[in-house]
C-alpha cells in the first residue's frame, strides 16, 4: 500500500427535531437497554407499522447519527463498506454507509434485510456478534466499532416467498423486537396526529383497517397498515371526501383483484 489515500466519509445525518413516535409496548426501554449493552437489534413486523419511525425516534433520543440503507437485491458488499474512486489525479477511498456509521458510532439501520443478496448479508455478521468488527478488505483495515455504534435491521415475516427468509445464522445474532399494528385507540391517536384529522375520523379509519385485517389470508395478503391509514387521513385533511380518500389510499392499494376491490369498497362504504 503506497501512501495513504485520502478518505472521504459521507456526511451523516443527525436527527435534530424529535420525531413523533407513539410507544406501543416496552420497545423504547428494550432498545435503550440493547444500546447500552451493545447488542444489535432486529425489528420484526408487517410493513407500515412504525419500524422506520421508531428507529428515527431512537436515534434522536440516544443522540446518535442515523444511517439508513434500504436493501435491494443488487446491494453489493462495496455498496455497504466502501470503494476507491479517482478524483482528478488522486485516489480517494469513500466509506460506504456501514463503514461510515461504524466510524461515527452511529445507528446503522438496514431496512428489509431479506431483500439484500445473501453474500452481502455476511459482512454484517462480525459486527453483530461480540467481535463488533467491520473488515474493509480493500484497505486491509479492520474497524472496531465504538461503543455507541448500533446495528439495526428490519424484517417482515409476512412475506410468502421461500426465497425471502432470514437465515437463522443472521437472525440469531440479534435481539428481536416484535412490531405489530397497535391497539385501536393508540392507532387512532397516531392517525389523528400524523394525518391531521379529528378523533372521530381517525377512529373510523382504524375501524376500516380492522375490517380489512379480518380478510388476511382470505383474499388479502395483508390488511391495511398504519401507513395507509395515515395516507388516507392526509388526503381527508386536504379536503378529499373520506370514502374517496379511503378507496384511493387503502382499497386500491391493497388489491387489484376486481372481486376483492368490490368487497373493499363495500367495507369503505360501511364505515363512512
Amino acid at each position: 500500500m503506497s501512501g495513504n489515500p485520502r478518505t472521504l466519509a459521507p456526511q451523516l445525518q443527525t436527527v435534530e427535531i424529535e420525531p413523533y413516535y407513539q410507544p406501543v409496548r416496552d420497545e423504547v426501554a428494550l432498545f435503550e437497554s440493547a444500546h447500552r449493552r451493545r447488542l444489535p437489534v432486529l425489528l420484526k413486523g408487517p410493513t407500515g407499522c412504525g419500524k422506520t419511525r421508531f428507529v428515527e425516534y431512537m436515534a434522536w433520543r440516544l443522540k446518535r447519527p442515523l444511517v439508513t440503507v434500504a436493501c435491494h437485491d443488487d446491494l453489493t458488499t462495496a455498496d455497504l463498506v466502501g470503494r476507491y474512486l479517482i478524483v482528478g489525479n488522486e485516489t480517494v477511498w469513500v466509506d460506504g454507509p456501514l463503514a461510515a456509521a461504524v466510524r461515527a458510532g452511529a445507528i446503522c439501520y438496514l431496512d428489509e434485510i431479506v431483500e439484500a443478496r445473501k453474500d452481502t448479508t455476511v459482512v454484517i455478521h462480525p459486527l453483530a456478534d461480540n467481535r463488533r468488527m467491520l473488515a474493509i478488505d480493500k484497505r486491509g483495515e479492520l474497524l472496531a466499532a465504538p461503543d455507541d455504534f448500533m446495528l439495526v435491521i428490519s424484517y417482515n415475516p409476512g412475506y410468502q416467498s421461500v426465497l425471502k427468509e432470514i437465515k437463522p445464522s443472521t437472525r440469531q445474532r440479534f435481539v428481536a423486537l416484535e412490531f405489530d399494528y397497535p391497539e385501536a385507540a393508540v392507532e387512532a391517536g397516531i392517525v389523528a396526529t400524523e394525518g391531521g384529522v379529528d378523533a372521530e375520523t381517525a377512529r373510523r379509519l382504524v375501524k376500516l383497517a380492522e375490517l380489512t385485517r379480518n380478510l388476511k389470508g382470505a383474499g388479502l395478503d395483508e390488511g391495511a397498515s398504519t401507513r395507509l391509514l395515515v395516507h388516507a387521513a392526509q388526503l381527508i385533511a386536504d379536503g378529499v371526501e373520506p370514502a374517496a380518500a379511503c378507496t384511493a389510499a387503502i382499497a386500491r392499494a391493497l388489491s387489484d383483484d376486481p372481486e376483492m376491490t368490490g368487497t373493499l369498497d363495500d367495507l369503505v362504504r360501511a364505515v363512512f
Partner: protein, 689 residues
C-alpha cells in the same frame, strides 16, 4: 389452438364414457348427431358440462347433452354455463325432477335471463358478500342459499334470488343489508345472553308466530342503531333502502333506535306491541327469526367451546393438575373487549383455538360460562376421540413401502411406525384429458406462459466478471483507484447477463379424498394442467403426488409426476386419473413427501398442498382435533428440515381451524373451487419470487 370438429362417432364415444351410468340405456347416437354441427370449442364446452352434470346425476347430464344445440342457438357461452348451473343448483336443492324441469324450460330460462337485470342472484354476489361479512365478523359466519333469509348463528341463509326492488343494483344492496342485519343479530345479542333468555321471554305469547314477526322487526330497528355507532355508512345505506320507518314502528324507532340499546329493551317493548292488536309491519331487509334453529346451533357451539376452553385451561400449568383441595381458579380479565386469563396473578396464554372459542363464548353470552373455569382435575382429562377398535379390521396384508410415526396430541408423543405408507400406481386415465383442458383454457394458458417466461427471463446483469459482453464501469473505476492507491487491482472488470439459477424444487401434494368428488376434483386436475404449463416454462424441478387412504394401515400415495420424470404422455394420463378416493390422513402424506423433497439437490424446497379442508380418516380417530394436531406437527417437522410449506384450501365455509392446522406453514383459502386452476399458478409465482 384450433382443432377440427369431432365427428358424430367420436362424440358418441365420449358421451358414452360420460353417461355410462345413465339408467335409460338410450343410445347417445341421436345426441351425438345433434352436436356434430357445433364448433369444436362448443363441443368441448358441452362435453365438459355434460361430464360435470353427470357426476351429480347421469340423467341431468343426458338432458344437458340433448338440449345443448338448442340452448347454444339461443345463449352465449356465459348463458349456457348459467343454464347448466341453474339446473345443477335445482338438483342440489330440490332433486332430479326439479332440475330436469328447469333445464327443459329453456324459454323460461331465456326470458328470465332477458328480464334478469332487475333481479339479483345469490350466486353472483355470494363471494363478495361472504368476504364482506368476514370483514365485519368477529367470528366465522358462512353464507348459504336458503328458502327465507335468517341465521342459525353459524350460517346466514339468503334467498337464491331477490327481485323485490326495481333495479338489480338495489336488489344487490338489499342482499347486503339483509346479510349485515343477520350478522348483527349474531353479533349483538338477538338470541339472548347468559342474563337474558329469549326463549322464556317469547314463551309468554300463545301466538308465537306473531311474536316472532314483531321481534324481528323491532330487532331490525335496534340493530340498525347499534350498527350506526361502529359502521355509520352501512347503517345509512340500510336506512336509505328501507325508507322511512312504517307508522307501526315509529314509536319503536324512538325507544330502541339508540346505539346502546340492548335486546332486553326490545323484549320490554315487544310486550307493548303484543298487547295491541296490530301485526308487525313488513320490512324489506329484516329477515326472519328461526329461534329454534339459532338456539340449537348456539347451544351445540357453546358446549363445544366451553369444552375447548376448559381443556385448554386444564392443561396449563398449575391449574387442575395441582395437588390438594382449594385450588384457585383462573381470573378472567375483560378489558377493552380483549379477553385475558390469569392464575394467581400470572398471565395465562391460551392456544389460539381456545382463545377464539373463549372470545366466541363471550360474544354469545356476554360472559364466560362458569363451567369453563372449573378445573377438570387430575384424571378427569377425557379425550373425546377414542381409539377405534374396528379400524384395524381393515388392516391390509400387503407389506407397506414405509412406516411413519404419527403425533398423538393426547399423549404428547409419537406413535411409532403407526402409519403404513404405500406408493400406488395410478392407472392411466383419458389420454386426451390434458389436451381438452388446454383447449378450453387457451387464453389462460397463453397468459401463464407469458408471465412465467418473464420470470425465467429475469436475466441479471452480473457485474465484476472475468469476462462478459460489457465493461463494468464501476469495477473499472474502482480498479484504477486500487492501482493508484497501490492496492492489488481487481481483474474482473466485465459484466455479463446470466440466467438466474433458481435452484428450487417444488412438490405438489393433491388431496384425492372422497370429499373432493365433483368440482373440487375437477378443479384440482385442471390446476395440475395449468401448473405443469407454468413449471415447464419456468424450468423448476417439480413433482406431483396424490394422496388418500383408509385408516392408518392403508395410507396411499399416488405418484403423478416424479421429480425425475418429464411432463410426457404418461404423466398427462396420470393427471387425468387423479380422482376422488377415500379419506384424508394428511400427516403421513406430508412426512413422506417431505422425505422425497429432502433428497432433491435444490437450495430451496417447497411443499404445496391442495386440499378441501380438514384432515379426516375412517373411524373417528383422525377426525377433529387429533388430525389437526398431527398435520400441524408434520408441517412443523417439514419446516425444521428446511422444507417450506404452503397450503391451498378450498373451503367456502368458516375455516376457523386453519390457523391452528397450518401453524408453521403459510396458507390461503379459496372460497370457490372454480378459481383454483387460475389461482394456483399465481400462488406459485408469488411463493417463488
Amino acid at each position: 389452438m384450433t382443432a377440427r370438429r369431432l365427428f358424430s362417432n367420436e362424440l358418441e364415444e365420449r358421451l358414452d364414457e360420460l353417461l355410462f351410468a345413465s339408467t335409460s340405456h338410450r343410445s347417445a347416437k341421436g345426441i351425438a348427431d345433434g352436436l356434430e354441427k357445433l364448433t369444436r370449442e362448443q363441443q368441448e364446452r358441452v362435453l365438459h358440462w355434460v361430464g360435470v352434470a353427470a357426476q351429480s346425476y347421469a340423467e341431468v347430464g343426458y338432458l344437458v347433452a340433448s338440449l345443448a344445440p338448442r340452448a347454444l342457438a339461443r345463449l352465449d357461452a356465459a348463458g349456457f354455463e348459467a343454464w347448466v348451473l341453474a339446473g345443477l343448483d335445482a338438483y342440489d336443492r330440490q332433486g332430479g325432477q326439479a332440475a330436469m324441469a328447469l333445464l327443459r324450460d329453456l324459454d323460461g330460462f331465456c326470458a328470465a335471463r332477458a328480464h334478469a337485470p332487475a333481479a339479483a342472484r345469490f350466486a353472483d354476489i355470494e363471494v363478495r358478500l361472504a368476504r364482506f361479512i368476514q370483514g365485519l365478523s368477529g367470528r366465522a359466519l358462512a353464507l348459504s342459499a336458503g328458502a327465507f333469509p335468517h341465521t342459525d348463528t353459524e350460517t346466514v341463509f339468503l334467498p337464491a334470488q331477490l327481485a323485490s326492488l326495481p333495479t338489480q343494483d338495489e336488489n344487490r344492496r338489499l342482499y347486503k343489508a339483509t346479510a349485515a342485519l343477520l350478522w348483527a343479530q349474531t353479533r349483538y345479542g338477538t338470541f339472548g345472553t347468559a342474563a337474558v333468555g329469549i326463549e322464556a321471554a317469547l314463551a309468554r305469547w300463545p301466538d308465537r308466530e306473531r311474536a316472532l314477526r314483531w321481534f324481528a322487526a323491532l330487532e331490525a330497528v335496534r340493530l340498525e342503531a347499534v350498527l350506526g355507532a361502529e359502521l355509520p355508512g352501512l347503517a345509512a345505506e340500510i336506512a336509505a333502502l328501507r325508507g322511512p320507518w312504517p307508522e307501526g314502528l315509529r314509536a319503536a324507532a324512538e325507544r330502541l333506535g339508540r346505539p346502546d340499546a340492548a335486546v332486553s329493551q326490545t323484549l320490554t317493548f315487544l310486550a307493548e306491541c303484543m298487547a295491541g292488536e296490530a301485526e308487525a309491519p313488513m320490512l324489506p331487509h329484516a329477515g326472519a327469526i328461526d329461534l329454534e334453529a339459532a338456539l340449537r346451533v348456539r347451544a351445540a357451539r357453546q358446549e363445544r367451546e366451553t369444552d375447548i376452553v376448559r381443556k385448554a385451561l386444564s392443561t396449563l400449568k398449575g391449574f387442575g393438575g395441582r395437588q390438594g383441595a382449594g385450588e384457585s381458579s383462573p381470573a378472567v380479565n375483560l378489558e377493552g373487549g380483549k379477553l385475558e386469563f390469569s392464575l394467581d396473578g400470572e398471565a395465562l396464554a391460551l392456544p389460539p383455538e381456545a382463545q377464539a372459542a373463549a372470545q366466541s363464548l363471550l360474544q354469545d353470552l356476554g360472559e364466560l360460562p362458569p363451567e369453563c373455569l372449573v378445573p377438570a382435575g387430575p384424571g378427569a382429562w377425557q379425550p373425546t376421540e377414542r381409539e377405534g377398535g374396528g379400524e384395524d379390521a381393515l388392516t391390509s396384508h400387503r407389506e407397506p413401502h414405509r412406516r411413519y410415526d404419527e403425533w398423538d396430541y393426547r399423549r404428547r408423543a409419537y406413535r411409532r411406525d403407526w402409519c403404513h405408507l404405500f406408493e400406488v400406481d395410478l392407472p392411466p386415465g383419458d389420454p386426451d384429458y390434458v389436451v381438452k383442458v388446454s383447449l378450453r383454457n387457451t387464453a389462460a394458458i397463453r397468459q401463464i406462459r407469458r408471465r412465467f417466461e418473464m420470470l425465467r427471463g429475469e436475466d441479471r446483469l452480473l457485474g465484476r466478471q472475468p469476462e462478459g459482453e460489457e465493461i463494468d464501469v464501476d469495477a473499472l473505476v474502482e480498479a484504477a483507484g486500487d492501482r493508484a492507491a497501490g492496492a492489488e487491482p481487481e481483474a474482473r472488470l466485465y459484466s455479463r447477463r446470466i440466467r438466474c439459477e433458481r435452484s428450487l424444487a417444488a412438490m405438489f401434494m393433491v388431496d384425492m379424498s372422497g370429499s373432493t368428488k365433483g368440482w373440487v376434483n375437477d378443479a384440482e386436475r385442471e390446476s395440475l394442467v395449468m401448473l405443469c404449463e407454468a413449471l415447464e416454462t419456468l424450468g423448476d424441478a417439480y413433482a406431483i403426488y396424490g394422496f388418500s387412504g383408509w385408516t392408518r394401515t392403508r395410507c396411499d400415495i399416488y405418484p403423478v409426476k416424479r421429480f425425475d420424470e418429464a411432463y410426457d404422455a404418461a404423466v398427462r394420463g396420470r393427471i387425468a386419473a387423479v380422482e376422488a378416493k377415500d379419506y384424508t390422513r394428511m400427516g403421513v402424506a406430508i412426512r413422506h413427501l417431505t422425505q422425497l423433497l429432502e433428497a432433491q439437490p435444490a437450495r430451496h424446497r417447497l411443499l404445496v398442498t391442495l386440499s378441501d379442508g380438514r384432515p379426516d380418516d375412517f373411524g373417528d380417530e383422525y377426525r377433529g382435533h387429533y388430525g389437526v394436531e398431527d398435520t400441524r406437527r408434520a408441517l412443523q417437522e417439514a419446516h425444521e428440515r428446511g422444507v417450506r410449506s404452503y397450503c391451498v384450501t378450498i373451503d367456502r365455509h368458516g375455516a376457523d381451524y386453519l390457523p391452528r392446522l397450518y401453524g408453521p406453514a403459510r396458507y390461503t383459502v379459496l372460497d370457490d373451487a372454480k378459481k383454483l386452476p387460475l389461482k394456483v399458478a399465481d400462488i406459485y409465482r408469488r411463493l417463488t419470487t
